[in-house]
Amino acid sequence: MYLNADDLTPLYMQVAEWLELEILNGSLQSNEKVYSQYQLAEMFNINPATAAKGLSLLAEQNLLYKKRGLGMFVAPQAKEKIRAKRIKENLQQLVLQLVAEAKRLQLSQAELIAMIKNVDLPKEE
Amino acid sequence: MMSLSTVNLLTNARRQFNYKLKANAGLFVSLLAVQMLAALLSANGTVSIGWGTGNSVAYLRLISGDVIIIFSLLWAFTAGLTVAANAQRYDFVFVTNRLSSNLSSMAVLFILSAGGGVSATLCGILLRAFLIITKDGFIFTNISPYVLLIGICSAVLYSLLFSAVGYFLGILAQRNKAYAILLPALFLGLLFVEARSVGGTRHILSVIHFFIRESSLLIFALKILLTVALLYGAAILIASKMEVRQ
């Protein structure tokens, strides 16, 4: 598994984001143990300190909690919190850009909505 | 915290010795080549003396292992140079310090000298045995096992001396390449000065006499060991501040 080296988002944030997605899509359930920094380091071929930083970023947001001597676990409400956070931060930002671009291209609101409706995402497995 | 290794000087010197004996093992093959060459050169004898009784003439060809031993001593000298040069190159790839490197070099040179001295003397016996078998009219002095043992001991001691001189000069040359040219030049210069001063002090000759005119094996051994200790001590002192240029 590789993180995007060209992406200029710091590596630890990329790790955090990957973990968020794992929680969102249900790969990691509430109260389930998450990967250790060493496992993450090995999975992504990165320095374990970087991986640890990604983990602590999520812990700071109370998405993960620490059990002494056992490692990090997914917090009970993590999935909902992540969803709310991403809607607020990512999606709204994207919508803003979307609308701004539509405006630049003089696309009407109705046309934009139609475009959104027509998007046919390949089904995730 | 990763546990740190601690290492004892002698333990490390022993490991270095095992390593260097292998790294310098090629010297044994060159020794073999040198002795074979020397034996070949000696096989026809050195000096020929004729004696006639009117109608009959006897020609004597004198055979000895001297050439083999001298060649082996020259080899011991170059072995000292080589071990010194290789120590600078190979030793510091693995764990060592200067003292350990020097100690292991000395042990290696001791083994090389022992091998050189023993094989040189035995190669002389090989030469005699070969001539007894292949030549008619062979006359020899019977070398008793006791005399053979004395010959081996003294050849080993001479080899030790030659290798230690080579090692000392080799370390000096490693310290500064200029010595590699300076020292032979100085030596030759001294020789010519000595050659011209007829009645004057002849240091080099007296140094040589110091060793070759000693007829007691025990005192000879003491002289050699003392000289060798001085040479190695000087080599250790010179090397201790030397940088490693890999």
């Binding site: - | 003396i49 035995l122 190669c123 006359i139 002095t141 019977n142 005399v147 003294s154």
Partner: protein, 225 residues
């Protein structure tokens, strides 16, 4: 002396440099080294065993016990007494019956007869002439080279044997051995050794006491006293 010595050392230095150059280019692998050294060691051990096991009695020369022979030979020449010579061996013996009153002793072929002739007188009336050839040399096939002796027309004819050249290898101690033993240094072995190997030959002629001997100038004769 020092000049030669300096020259020698320069040659040695050149030798060392050349040797060092060659040696530094010999780079056998560790396994090759083991094979070479192993074979060489076996060869040396075998050679030492051979050296001490070979039957050396046939040609053995224990140099230490060998006198120079010079003094004895001198005394022999003065007295003509064979017993002054040590380690005599008989090389040949001839016996003739002779009834004449005088005998000419000469070399057969006008050449000088090299070997010293010793004349011993027997009692008068004996009718046999005995000729014995002795040598002080080593018993080697090459050194057994007696002259020819013939009795013809009242003449005892002596013929030089065909000339022989004998090559010997003499092995002494190495310098490492002589330094600490009072042994034989091969390089110090000189003519004396060659002489003692080849030895001195003499021809002993035993004549009846009454016989008148005429010696030709081609033969040197010592009368036994």
């Amino acid at each position: 002396m020092t000049g030669i010595f300096a020259g020698g050392l320069i040659i040695i230095i050149v030798l060392i440099s050349a040797g060092h150059f060659v040696i530094s280019r010999i780079k056998p692998s560790l396994s090759q080294t083991r094979i070479f050294v192993g074979i060489y060691l076996l060869l040396l051990i075998f050679a030492v065993a051979a050296f001490y096991c070979l039957d050396k009695t046939g040609s053995a020369l224990v140099l230490e016990n060998r006198g120079t022979g010079e003094n004895e030979f001198q005394r022999f020449l003065e007295t003509g007494r064979v017993e002054y010579l040590k380690g005599l061996r008989k090389l040949g013996r001839w016996s003739f019956t002779y009834r004449g009153q005088d005998l000419v002793l000469r070399s057969a072929d006008k050449e000088h007869f090299w070997t010293t002739v010793v004349v011993e007188r027997k009692e008068a009336g004996d009718e046999t002439i005995e000729v014995i050839c002795y040598t002080t040399g080593l018993q080697l096939p090459e050194t057994d080279n007696p002259p020819l002796v013939k009795l013809k027309d009242g003449q005892l004819l002596l013929t030089n044997p065909p000339p022989v050249e004998i090559n010997f290898y003499v092995a002494g101690y190495d310098f490492t051995m002589t330094q600490f033993t009072a042994g034989i240094d091969a390089n110090n072995v000189s003519h004396e050794l060659a002489q003692s190997i080849l030895g001195n030959q003499i021809v002993l002629v035993r004549l009846p006491g009454h016989l008148q001997l005429i010696v030709d100038e081609t033969v040197s004769v010592v009368e036994q006293k």
